[in-house]
Assembly symmetry: C3
Homo-oligomer: 666 residues x 3
Amino acid sequence: MAPWHPRRIEFGGDYNPEQWPRDVWAEDRALMSQAGVTLATVGVFSWAHLEPEPGRYELDWLGDVLDGLHAQGIGADLATATASPPPWLTRLHPEALPIDHEGRTRWPGARQAYCPSSTAWRTRAVALVEQLAGRFGSHPAVRLWHLGNEYGCHTSRCYCDTCAAGFRRWLLRRYGGLDGINSAWATAFWSQRYSDVEEILPPRLTPDGAWANPTQQLDYRRFASDTLLEELLLEKEVLRRLSPDVPITTNFMVMTRFNQLDYWRWAEEVDVVSTDYYPEFADPLTHVEAALSADLTRGLADGGSWLLMETSPSAVNWQPRNPAKKPGALRRDALQQIARGADGFNVFQVRASLAGAEKFHSGLIPHAGTDTRLWREVLDLGSLLERLGEVAGSRVESEVAMVWGYDAWWACELDSHPSVDVRYPDRPRALHRALWDRGITVDLVRPGAALDGYKVVVVPTLYLADDAAAAAVRDFVAGGGHAVVTYFSGIVDEHDHVRPGGYPGAFRELLGIRTEEFAPLLEGETVVLDDGSTADVWTEDLRLEGAEAVRTYADGPVPGAPAVTRHAFGDGTAWYIATRTSPEGTSSVLDRVVAEAGVGAAAVTTPGVEVVRRRGEQGSWLFVLNHTGREAAVPASGVDLVSGDDLDGEVRVGPGGVAVVREAGA
Amino acid sequence: MAPWHPRRIEFGGDYNPEQWPRDVWAEDRALMSQAGVTLATVGVFSWAHLEPEPGRYELDWLGDVLDGLHAQGIGADLATATASPPPWLTRLHPEALPIDHEGRTRWPGARQAYCPSSTAWRTRAVALVEQLAGRFGSHPAVRLWHLGNEYGCHTSRCYCDTCAAGFRRWLLRRYGGLDGINSAWATAFWSQRYSDVEEILPPRLTPDGAWANPTQQLDYRRFASDTLLEELLLEKEVLRRLSPDVPITTNFMVMTRFNQLDYWRWAEEVDVVSTDYYPEFADPLTHVEAALSADLTRGLADGGSWLLMETSPSAVNWQPRNPAKKPGALRRDALQQIARGADGFNVFQVRASLAGAEKFHSGLIPHAGTDTRLWREVLDLGSLLERLGEVAGSRVESEVAMVWGYDAWWACELDSHPSVDVRYPDRPRALHRALWDRGITVDLVRPGAALDGYKVVVVPTLYLADDAAAAAVRDFVAGGGHAVVTYFSGIVDEHDHVRPGGYPGAFRELLGIRTEEFAPLLEGETVVLDDGSTADVWTEDLRLEGAEAVRTYADGPVPGAPAVTRHAFGDGTAWYIATRTSPEGTSSVLDRVVAEAGVGAAAVTTPGVEVVRRRGEQGSWLFVLNHTGREAAVPASGVDLVSGDDLDGEVRVGPGGVAVVREAGA
Amino acid sequence: MAPWHPRRIEFGGDYNPEQWPRDVWAEDRALMSQAGVTLATVGVFSWAHLEPEPGRYELDWLGDVLDGLHAQGIGADLATATASPPPWLTRLHPEALPIDHEGRTRWPGARQAYCPSSTAWRTRAVALVEQLAGRFGSHPAVRLWHLGNEYGCHTSRCYCDTCAAGFRRWLLRRYGGLDGINSAWATAFWSQRYSDVEEILPPRLTPDGAWANPTQQLDYRRFASDTLLEELLLEKEVLRRLSPDVPITTNFMVMTRFNQLDYWRWAEEVDVVSTDYYPEFADPLTHVEAALSADLTRGLADGGSWLLMETSPSAVNWQPRNPAKKPGALRRDALQQIARGADGFNVFQVRASLAGAEKFHSGLIPHAGTDTRLWREVLDLGSLLERLGEVAGSRVESEVAMVWGYDAWWACELDSHPSVDVRYPDRPRALHRALWDRGITVDLVRPGAALDGYKVVVVPTLYLADDAAAAAVRDFVAGGGHAVVTYFSGIVDEHDHVRPGGYPGAFRELLGIRTEEFAPLLEGETVVLDDGSTADVWTEDLRLEGAEAVRTYADGPVPGAPAVTRHAFGDGTAWYIATRTSPEGTSSVLDRVVAEAGVGAAAVTTPGVEVVRRRGEQGSWLFVLNHTGREAAVPASGVDLVSGDDLDGEVRVGPGGVAVVREAGA
């Protein structure tokens, strides 16, 4: 398989010609060409058109599409077309319909209505991929294979008997036998001890107010992620065999509101990491979340090249209220992803549909046609991305790492916890935002990953921390690093068993503290710290065992107790934030941490003006994205590839504007 | 069949003697007689008493009831008794139980627990109707047949396999074949293409966040309405055969919170349109909604005589909080319906039940007996309605029409739309209220109906507009009329396919505008218009193509863009309101529209004092209903049939009071 | 069977050694001994460990546990271990899985996942109890049998076909035959008449907005409570046979948020009443609710000795937010229960679990170990309870009774009622709180119980009142007592049939009033009374028929109508509170009632300082619990068993503190 070598910044989108008569296809190609489209994703939802009846394949039309794209110089990200089975499949194989947690069948009529464990689905999907790979595996347009689509988006977990059997096999592999399962799941509680592996079930609906075994729930999340990954691996095997020269990808959904899959595990299996990112229009900080999402995607790509595979050119259709993007937002959104490591910016979809569930999702070509502001912005963007081709393949600079774990997320948000207000992404977002405001770029890393080379490591809400995860942070600090741990981290091991002796078990010694009891706050309750800042959600009855108190509570359940601590450990320093500090409170702690650690910004900036640097063999590029309503000035020298201006010490960027400075002498 | 000739204003209610021992029946008859009851609906829930075991009929008791009513001079609206099957029916035929969207069986124990497609139910219902029609089809008390009851109120859509088969047949009839279905449903999207009609299913529960095909959903609403109508037609066939001289009705539920049936289609099949109307006690504008409901019912009756078949004399039992009606409210509520065309006012029910699910629903005879304010108000009302008999058969005057479509409602409120805040009845209610406040009466008309004779036509939120609906409005304006279209109208055709080229496709040329993108507002977001009024929910990025901007946005997503436009088209004028204007904003636009169109009020009035005129061969009657807490004066001359006063130029109506002026020289 | 003779105040908790390796057991015993534990509940969730495979029993480990406890002088409350079946049971007998109201199976994985009617479950449960009773029925450690656990907590009602059959048998026993059922259920309404008992079903999910027959729903609550009680009786029969000398108990859940069982009926069947009580941490008045719960438990025990079987030493794990208890709260919570009649204070659980669904529930031995504030408070409490041993067996003094009915609760909160805001426990809590603030202790009594000896009887929200319940209150007042009845009392009989002739039928004559219509208020609506106090939720259109108006409405739906009335009846007085008075409004009415009735407080106190007196053969003890943040002084003479101080006329109790005064000369 030829590796993915970014040669330019890709631009394009999902292209679904089967929705249109053939006479529209020519116009599509002309408009894509006009817009500078380089890569089109085709075939994602084409199974029913490629195999209209069981075993009868109609691939010619797709050949025509690929030929047409190739003639226009547009590459194809060719889907395996297995994202959603045709209606005939589950009619023939009703056992392939998914069953939800409450025992309800989920039916066709939308998409992704199949059981991830289904043999029928798998057999027919593999057969289809063999057809496609055999026919198009060496087509000159095909630059990338797109396996499935948004795995786990709609049917992430099925609770049917087939899945139950798969779960049992998975458990036996993981634990070796029944004793291991009984031990890991702590079935001594509530009379849950299994005497035969066949008794084990998915965590189906339990009686009212009786929460299912938490480790059973956690393992089912793991199993479900692995089961969907098996699908990808089945398709990958075919493609490696029949189309060995084309790299593979699948579009992840790296957003702080999606946690169905353990993308650390998935990223190991694809040649190119790509992701979908959709803003949450009702969230005024969604542009910061977009940065976090890009940073995490880059982490999944191990710092290498990745693609933004889907986003919306303007409105989406599935949020409660779907505003249009304001003028300039499309360009800013695109450059933000490029700034943070993307080597391509694709959207859903090339031409807005006139019918179906997504007809009110914007496209590059809107319902109102090409005499529109949106189309003119598309043309501008295509042109700009072409000019930015030199950036492709460079890497993003960062001195700060943040530990991010999918099983920590899963475990953290299980029921029967001290507080429902402890949601996993909350502190990662808060800490990332505080650094983002300072122009400090953050790499997201896997729990247990080596942390060499970073100056600061942030460990937010890592409720579940296995021994390796704990050791990695400990070693980092012992070696001179600066770590910041937030509350409800290090509480349990990989089986969701509490680490005894005082919280937070995994980090207690590192942090030089011991918490006797959690003291979560009631809804709406706040506490005041000794610096006058406020906090909410969480406090702890914490004792110092070596650490110093940097902040204490002025009131609340544990007045006088430490709220923020600092502990010299080995050659480094370990901080603990024991409450949900306000943005100001978080900021003042991080000010001290980055100062002590000597972390610098990509450029001197002000909150809301995003700065990131990519650096490659040929030089470096400073991206400046002004998310504010005021003109911003940032120190920079070189050439602004957006405006073409030569800069001597400063780049000025208008409200909502962008700059990409090819830095002089870098 | 003898047509329904209103000879008086009917008064009465549902009468359920089977709930009471025989000795109460005599008192019932005496009290009904005392109250001036003319029409009693009997037998609605009597199936289990009429056919206590399969095929064993016990009709004698009902004969006694009818004889008793007749002896007292009270007519019967005789139910076919099929509203709810007896428990034995679904025990014998479990497949006749309805299955809901989530696959759950809905069980007996309440009412209406049967599958609308069920052959068993239909067979036994028809057999029962044959018995009743054979026995009572010529009974002198029987003035009206009451088919079923509140069709679709509780079981409007069933998702069982029988219904699935019926849906397929319905689709084949509508579309001719599979290609037509695939095309109308746009199954090219999301791999939904059907290869065999047997693959088609009702829109059952789909995977999380994956919305079912919108046209599938829309067609299922149409199918469900038609399927229930089939039930009515089966009964109608029996009655026409065995009781040809008695007109038929069924009680619709014409309220802005009920949309299970397409009453335009249903109204074609009944001899007398009747409806149930229940106020929403928590809604401070429910009395205006009552006027709208009456206007729509009149529209369904094509301007002719109709009956208010059910309402509550005082409290209901099924809202979260069920206040009693205040003194005088019963009379005002009754006269409002009469004012707007009703020739009868009946309630549920004659005697309040002591047990069962509706025991806390008020009756004409309350739990506390006849020494009560309520009973005294009932006596007064009966007497007044008798005096108003001369009004029966006259018609309501109106110069304004409002287009109202049930499939527009269904389609408008499907998922995956630009904004969940666009609810169909919102703008109809707002525009109707603004006219109501001015004493301007509105006729509700079917999309596509000819609009000759009106001065103004209002087209609110007609999201789905087929070509005929669009042409009717266009022709009306071209011929000199004044139209007011509000946002999210004319967006899609009858298949829910977007009309391309810029919104609103069906009305773009008429309105002289082109909208590039919708720009809905976030929750709680408001915009200010250039006249200082505010708006919320919706804005658009709108270009003028011939129209003038009457209002523009002072801020918001599209500052400076037109918010209200006016377009001279043919001999008329077409207005567009592109945002959710405040009551003041709506009012100021309508002021100009009615002034330009020369529309007059029934009488000069003030907001909250409702005025409506009925006109017949013998003269005209001005109804004045004072919904305010202050005395009101309205110009009028003639005799007030309520007070008996001779009026010379003015009628004064106390707080909450009413007047019905037989107009002098009219 | 030897009766339960309290010899001391018991102290301990649930002890689940099967969760821990054997080497922890010794430490457990040592720590329990150190803390003064006298009673440990063992085996509650041990079925899967006692019978790891069907019919293979492993009891030795439990023998070791009991021997160990006995050696340490700790008694055992030995569970029958049937609280939750092992996974093998429902794998072998899938029909034993419960089915919920919506037809969904409830699965194992948590606890209590079995159908209460299941023959398989019952057979195997009885077999297990025979094993345990045979082996340990005379074990010297065993002081109490603990049957099941929290019956009805998670699976209170199952809707499967087995339960349906059981329901039919229960109905035939209750009503004698089909006619009785049809009459009681008023099946003449909505065509529900049954022609065969086999047609009758549980109140399963009905069509949308169609409420199931209310009497069917009410009877299903009764049936469900009786069905679970059958389980207890089956176990009791075994124990009486095989372990006749050991008294039996089961832990009720006497809280104002649990109403699955009719504990009046259950209390008849146990030798020792015990209960679980968990505070609602988000409720600022939860400590008053704790007092009410204790008073009700004492009522269930007929004023005799009872045990607090479970509560949390600090945080729980299952509320949305689970704060830790503040310093001193554990002691105050414990003494409150003792003050109100408990002769034991046990917690869940001895040692906090490290895994499973309840791992974040506090234990006597916390995760952080014994060097903790919590453990030190446990030691203090154990020591204090030992000193209080002299109190055991004494009785609580009370001059006021409050009628509390479980079927009144069930019926009151059925659907289709005048207002959803009428929740059963609301007025009991409000009236109890007003008395609690005055230091007046209240006994809770069963509807229909003789009320001799009380000075005041409070009857809050007794919606359903059978003839006996009404007669008891009437006789009490006729004989000179003072009764206070609140709105929505006495409305229906035991079949949920309205008592006609004006509300409140059962108490109309007693109260000297007649209500024509209810006039509930809308959400957020309030009314003002003539004394300036406010009220909400409810008003009535009430006529005086002998009573005097003590308060009237100054505004609202019925201005001028009586809001509070007083009626001289026989030798006593009957008050009616027709609206939801504010705490101040309630208070001012009760001031007058207790003054007229001559009711005294346990001691002169101030709101928030709880005072209760227990009196026994050896003397009396005044408990003072300061729930405020200020020091409190209460008149008292004797010895404070908490501080050891001799008191001469006054006891001073610090913020949050407690005193137990052995009264001088009492």
